[in-house]
Amino acid sequence: MSRYDSLVEDCALSIGAEASTFAALGNTRILITGGTGFVGSWVAEMIAFLNDRHKLGVHLTLLSPHASEFSERAPHLAGRSDITLMEGDVRNISAVPTDTDWIIHAAGSPDSRIHLSNPIRTMETIVLGTQNVMQAAARIGALKRILVLSSGLVCGPQQWESAPLSEESYSGMDCNRLANLYAESKRAAEMIATGYRSQTGLPVVTARPFTFIGPYQLLDRPWAINNFLGEALRGGPIRLQGNGSTVRSYMYGSDMAYWMLRLLVDGRIGAAYNIGSPQGISLKELAGMVADFAESHPRIELNTLPGGELHRSRWLPDVTKAEKDCGLKVRIGLDAAIRRTIAWHTGK
């Protein structure tokens, strides 16, 4: 059994008995920008599953500046006849294949290390890249939908005592702070897409991703769950910054891909949808779960540095809109998500 077989099982779990909801994708062509990242890789897994199990006949093009690396990382996808790898950077493209029926615009890394070290390139990729993709998409007369990946961060920070962030919650961000560059760029990108929808009639649907977990996510990324998993898989200890009261939620990769594709097909044009799990968990509890499920059962160390324990934040999506418009539900809970992710990395 190859390590990729578990991903097929993941896709089956996330789709459940709803494969028929993808009938509109049958024998059409999808293009994903940023196609070799976490989102693109999982959408590719899902399309491969739909084609293999349900004979959907979708053709997928993964546009990415890292297409050649993807061949090494996911040879089972890169070698398929229904998947085409296309080397390209959204900062420079002027056209996309004209026989494209659907576009998922996912280009732009959410890695805050890159945003801070290379803010100009980050903005170019998100803002200029979105402009280029919209312009190219507007030339395709028969385009059915374009799903623009924004970020849950565009709503601004969630106050500790506030309810989960709905698509309509907004608070201002200081646009002079470099830490807000990614969120502000995503806000600009959403507005560019809105402009194209209004002026050219582009069928734009917007997705606002929150936080995810699963295979294809690199463990060196600067997020709590990645750190915990990386530390646990190295035998620990798990080092917890702050006092562990910060709250996040995590959606598994195959659920995320299922939601993306459903929003592509069924999302209302002009609407924005949160994508993520509404089930919050404190980082202390999360670290405890990772420690329990990891073979090494590492100990957990709280950051005891004076002054470092004060920070806490809460960031949770309200996903009522996606549930109401498209009937979307989280199928793989956090417990299973952590276990499956550990199994992927350990090969067990």
């Binding site: 290390r113 060196d220 750190n227 990386g230 530390e231 002054g307 470092g308």
Partner: protein
Amino acid sequence: MPNILVSDPTLRDGNHAVAHQLTLESIETYAAAADAAHVPIVEVGHGNGLGASSMQVGQSLVPDREMLIAAREKLTQSKLGIHVIPGFATIEKDLRPAIDIGVDVVRVACHCSEADITQRHIAYVRERGKQVFGVLMMSHMLEPTRLAEEALKMETYGAEAIILMDSAGALLPPDVSSRVSALVETLHISVGFHAHNNLGMAIANSLAALESGATIIDGTARGFGAGAGNAQLEVLIAVMHRVGYETGIDLYKMLDAADLAERAIIPVIPTIKSTSIVSGLAGVFSGFAKHVDRVSSKFHVDPRDVFFELGRRGIVAGQEDLIIEVAQALSAGELRIEAEKVEA
């Protein structure tokens, strides 16, 4: 419960003051005394940190490995810390063996505008499960907003605290307050401060840092360190205790450790010499003092002119070879003309 973490680089910054000639016996003697005083972190090594022993910045009397093993054996309560500048220290050759010896805290340092170079070293220390701080040196050279952005990079790389170093002793208390405050407002992790005493501000600057939200503070016995020395640790602890900060350090034993350091390991107690004042005014790294004195004497030029010219050029640690270039040019009369042009 201590609310301030004290880190003591007597056996690292002090090495600058003796051209990196600290002996094994000195390291063992002071490490044991600091440990007895419950100093939380004792930093050990070449003045420029791990892997820095070289012709360019000075060769250590004792190799890194031997210094760390000696200190490790004497530290029963205190954590063993090291200063690591990527470029001097490589991961495989230096950092891996240091952690294998038993280093607890790694302080990954860079020039204040170059945080990007610390990513791999910080990530490696996190991988090894050890505590890692980011250190921004020469912090007077960057305004508070950019300093906070560089610090934020280090936080995203995995640093668990950020230390601002006033490496040139060039800052005054309001400068320290604005810089520390910018970091405290921007970061989610602890902020620390490391003073030098070129303008006689080391204790005042350290207090300003604490009042602005810093919770980690550096100081050395008798101020033993580069140039005019650091914040004098035993004074700093006394002042902090007077103000009401808790450090967990036994003051009497710290005073004993400082007395012992004066007797056993410090050949000349740091004072604020004229060149140190000029170094602080010019904003040049305190560790340059010995090099500048030596080279100035060789080329028969005024070391104060050398410092001001180095400051005008924005020279930073690692560019020690330019001291000779400046001294040569001054000696040849070239720079005086240029300096006049600049002033005009």
